[in-house]
C-alpha cells in the first residue's frame, strides 16, 4: 500500500473527526438557547390557550395579540400547541381553538402554502388546516383533492374529514379510484371517522360509498364495502333495505375480500331477512368470507342461524370455528343451550370449541 496515500487518508479522517467534533460543540452551544426559547414560547402559548380552555371564554384581542407568532419557528410551536389541544377537545372549546388558528393568521398562511411549489409544504399546510378545523379552508382543500401529489390529496381528504365538510364526501370517496391501495387505507379511515365532531350523519357518509359498490374496479368496490362495514349500524335500519340489497349483490362478487367485507357490512345492518344469504356464505371457498358470515350471523340472530353456526364450529379453519363460537355466545342463552346440546356428541376440534364456548358462558370450569 502506498504510504503517502495512507498518510493522506489518515489526515482526511483526522480532519473529518475534527470538523464533526467542532460542529457538535457549536450545536451543543447554540442548542441550549434555541431550545430554551422554544420552551419559553411553548409555555407562553400554552398558558394563554389553557387559560381560554379552563375559563371557558372567547379569545379576546389581548389573547390573540399575545399569541401571534413573530417568525416561522414560533408559528411551528404555536401550531403544535394548538394541534395537541384541538385533538383532545370537543364542542365549544374546540371551536375556540379554530378561532385562535384563524385569528393568529395560521390558517391564512397555511392556505397560501397549500399552493406552494414544494409538495412537502403543501402536505404540511394541509395537515395544519386539518388540525385547525377551519371551514375557511374547505374550498381550498377541495381543490387540493386534485393535487398532483398523492400525499397531498390524502392529507387534504383527512383535513376535510376533520373539518366535517359533508359536501366533500363524494369527492373523497372517489379518491379510491386514483390512489394506490395504501393511501386508500388512509382515505377509508378518513371516511369512517368523518366529521365525528361535527356529527355528520352516517347516512350522508354511506350514500357516496353505496354508489361505488358497482364500480368496475375491484379496489374501489373493496374499499367502499370496507368502509360500509364500519359505518352501517342497526340505526340505519330505516334506510337499510336499499343499502342491504346493494350489499347482498356483492356477496357474489368475484373478489373474496369484497364478499367478506359485504358479509361484515350486512351483519352490521342486522336485518334478519339477510340471514339465508349469509348462511350460504358459510360454505364459501374463502375462509375470510366464512369467518365474516359467521360473525354476522351472530349479530343478526334468529332461530334459523343456530344450526348453521353449530356446524361452522367444526370448520377446518381455526378463525371460522372461533368466530362461530363467538357468534353463538353473542346469541345468548339460545346459542349456549345449542352448544351444550351438541357438546355431548361432539369430538375433536368441535368438542374443544364447544367447551371453550361453555367456559366463556360460565357453564363449565377447567379442571
Amino acid at each position: 500500500m502506498n504510504v503517502p496515500l495512507v498518510v493522506l487518508l489518515a489526515l482526511a479522517f483526522v480532519a473529518s473527526n475534527g470538523v464533526l467534533i467542532v460542529v457538535m460543540l457549536i450545536r451543543l452551544t447554540l442548542r441550549a438557547p434555541a431550545e430554551a426559547a422554544r420552551a419559553r414560547w411553548r409555555a407562553r402559548y400554552a398558558e394563554v390557550i389553557d387559560d381560554l380552555i379552563m375559563q371557558d371564554r372567547e379569545p379576546s384581542g389581548h389573547d390573540i395579540a399575545a399569541l401571534i407568532p413573530d417568525n416561522r419557528r414560533q408559528r411551528r410551536v404555536l401550531e403544535a400547541v394548538l394541534a395537541e389541544r384541538a385533538g383532545l377537545l370537543r364542542g365549544r372549546a374546540r371551536s375556540r381553538m379554530t378561532e385562535v388558528f384563524e385569528r393568529t393568521g395560521i390558517v391564512g398562511i397555511a392556505l397560501s402554502e397549500l399552493v406552494s411549489r414544494r409538495a412537502w409544504n403543501r402536505r404540511i399546510a394541509a395537515e395544519v388546516l386539518g388540525h385547525s378545523r377551519s371551514e375557511q379552508a374547505t374550498q381550498d382543500l377541495l381543490l387540493s383533492l386534485r393535487d398532483a401529489d398523492d400525499d397531498v390529496r390524502t392529507i387534504a381528504a383527512k383535513a376535510l374529514g376533520k373539518i366535517g365538510a359533508a359536501d366533500a364526501l363524494p369527492f373523497i370517496a372517489s379518491l379510491f379510484r386514483d390512489l394506490d391501495e395504501d393511501r386508500c387505507a388512509s382515505v377509508a379511515d378518513t371516511i369512517v371517522s368523518f366529521g365525528e365532531t361535527s356529527h355528520v350523519p352516517r347516512e350522508e357518509r354511506i350514500a357516496p360509498l353505496v354508489d361505488l359498490l358497482d364500480d368496475s374496479s375491484e379496489k374501489v368496490r373493496y374499499w367502499a364495502t370496507h368502509c360500509l362495514a364500519s359505518l352501517t349500524r342497526v340505526a340505519q335500519r330505516s334506510k337499510a333495505p336499499e343499502t342491504a340489497a346493494r350489499l347482498l349483490a356483492r356477496l357474489s362478487d368475484p373478489s373474496a375480500r369484497v364478499r367478506a367485507e359485504a358479509c361484515r357490512a350486512i351483519g352490521s345492518l342486522g336485518l334478519s331477512a339477510d340471514a339465508p344469504a349469509l348462511e350460504s356464505g358459510l360454505a364459501d371457498v374463502s375462509a375470510e368470507v366464512r369467518r365474516y358470515s359467521a360473525r354476522s350471523l351472530g349479530a343478526i340472530g334468529g332461530a334459523g342461524v343456530l344450526a348453521a353456526l353449530i356446524q361452522a364450529m367444526g370448520d377446518p379453519d381455526f378463525d371460522v370455528s372461533r368466530e362461530a363460537g363467538r357468534a353463538l355466545i353473542a346469541l345468548d342463552e339460545r346459542g349456549i343451550d345449542a352448544v351444550q346440546g351438541m357438546a355431548g356428541a361432539a369430538t375433536g376440534a368441535s368438542l374443544r370449541r364447544a367447551m371453550e364456548v361453555l367456559n366463556v358462558a360460565g357453564r363449565v370450569s377447567p379442571l
Binding site: M1, V3, V6, V7, L9, A10, F13, V14, S16, N17, L20, I21, V23, M24, R27, L28, R31, A32, A80, G87, R123, I124, E127, G130, D151, I155, K158, E181, D182, R183, A185, S186, A188, D189, V192, S193, H226, S230, F318, S321, R322, A349, R352, R353, M355, E356, L358, N359, V360, V364, S365, P366
Partner: protein, 473 residues
Amino acid sequence: MSWQDLLQVIVIVDFFIVHGSYSLLTLLAFPAVRTQHRRAFIDDYPHVFRSRLAPGVSIIVPAYNEEATIVENVDSLLMLRYPQLEVVVVIDGATDATLDVLREHFGLTKVIRVLRDDITTQRVNAVYASERIANLIVIDKQNGGKADALNAGINASNHPYFVSVDADVILEEDAVIRVMTPILRNPRLVVAAGGILRVANGCEVRGGRVIRAALSKRTLPVLQVIEYIRAFAAGRAGLSVINSLLIISGAFSAFNTALVREVGGYARDTVGEDMEILVRVRRHLARQKRPYRVLYLAYPVAWTEVPETLKALGRQRARWHRGLSETLWKHRDTAFNPRYGYMGLVAMPFFLVAEFLGPIAEATGYAIFLLLVLTGDVNFAFYLLFLSIAVLWGVLLSLSAVFFEDVNFRWYETWGSYTRLVWLAVLENFGYRQLTVWWRLRGLAQFFAHRRAWGKMERRGFGAGARNGRARS
C-alpha cells in the same frame, strides 16, 4: 507473494469493505431518519390511536423467571396507547413465582381456550385470563426456550399483527402506534417493522416508564450506548433504506401474524431467533415473488437494560454472534443468489463480510502484526498509519452516530452526556473494541461446537432498587 502478504491484503480489503459499507449506510441513514423525524407531524399519531380501522395487535411477552419485574412490566404494557391491543404473556416453564404473582395481581383464573396448533410448541399447561382485564392472556407452558414461547404466543394471538417484547424491556407509551403507523400506511407491503432499542441503564424509570434519559455512571453501559446508537441509528436505518434489513431486534419488533404462521414460526434450533425469522420470512416472500418491505423506524423506542459486567457482556455478545452465524449458515444458499433480490445480493453478502467475517479479519490483522513484530519483519510506519486510519475511521463512524442522535432525537439533556459519548467514542477503540472481537470469536467457536445455551444475564432491574440476578431460558 508470501502467505503473510496475502493475509495482509485480505485483512486490508475486508477492512475497507466493512468500513466503507458502514460509512455508506450512515450516509443513507441520515436523510431517511431526518425525513421520518419530520414526517412525525404529518403521521398524526393521535389520529391513529382513535382510528376504528386500525388492525388489532397482540403484544407477546415471553417470560422466564421474571417474578421481580413481571407485574410492573405487564402493567406498563397494558397502558400502551393503541386502539385494539391484547397482551399475551407466555410463561416458559418458569421455576420461580412468575405465574403466582401474575395470578394474584391481575386476578387471573384458569380458562378453557382453544389455541391454534399451526406451530408446534412444548405442551401448554394452562391458559389464564382476567375478569377485570379483558385484553390480558397468560399462557403457562413447559420450558422450550424463547422461540418456543414466542410461538406459543403466536398460536394464542387473536390479532393480525403481533409485537414481540422482551419481559425486561420498557416501551414508550406511543411505541406500538408508531411502529404500526407505517404498517397501516402500507399494509400489503410492510410485513415487519422494528424500532430503535435504547440503553436504560442510568435512566430515571418510574411507573414502568422512562421519565428522563441519562447515561449510566459506569463506563461499560455507556460504551454500549455508543454501539446501540451506531448499530440502530446508522446501520439498521441505512439497511432499511435499501430494503436489506436482516434483523429487527426481538426485544421490540412487529410482524404480520399470518405470515409468521405461514413460515412455521420462530426457529427453536438457534439462539438468534429474531434474525432467523426475518431471514426466513424474507426468503419465503422472495420465493413467492411477493413485493415486501421490512422497515426500521427511528423513533419507536424500547429501553433495555444492558450488561454491566464484562462477563455478562461477553456471554451476550458471544450468543449474538453465534445466532448470527447460525442464521447465515442455515440460509447460506441465499447469499449472492439473484433469486432473493436485495437479500441475496446485498444483505447476505454484507452480513457475511462485515458481521460474520469482520472479527476473523480483525483478529487476523492483530495476529499478523504480532507475528511480524516477533520475526522483525514489521514495517512500523505502515502499521501505525494503518492503525490510525482504522481508529480514526471507527471514531468517525461513532461520532457520526452520536451526531445523528443529537440532531434528530436529543434524548440526553446535558452537555456532559454528549461530551462523554464523544470521548468514549474515541476511547472504545483501545481495548473495548478488541474485547468485542474476542467475544465474537468465542461466539463463532461456540457455533462450530453447536452450543445452544442462552447463558446467564445478571440484571440489576429498573428503578431505585437493584434486584436479584435472573437466568434466562
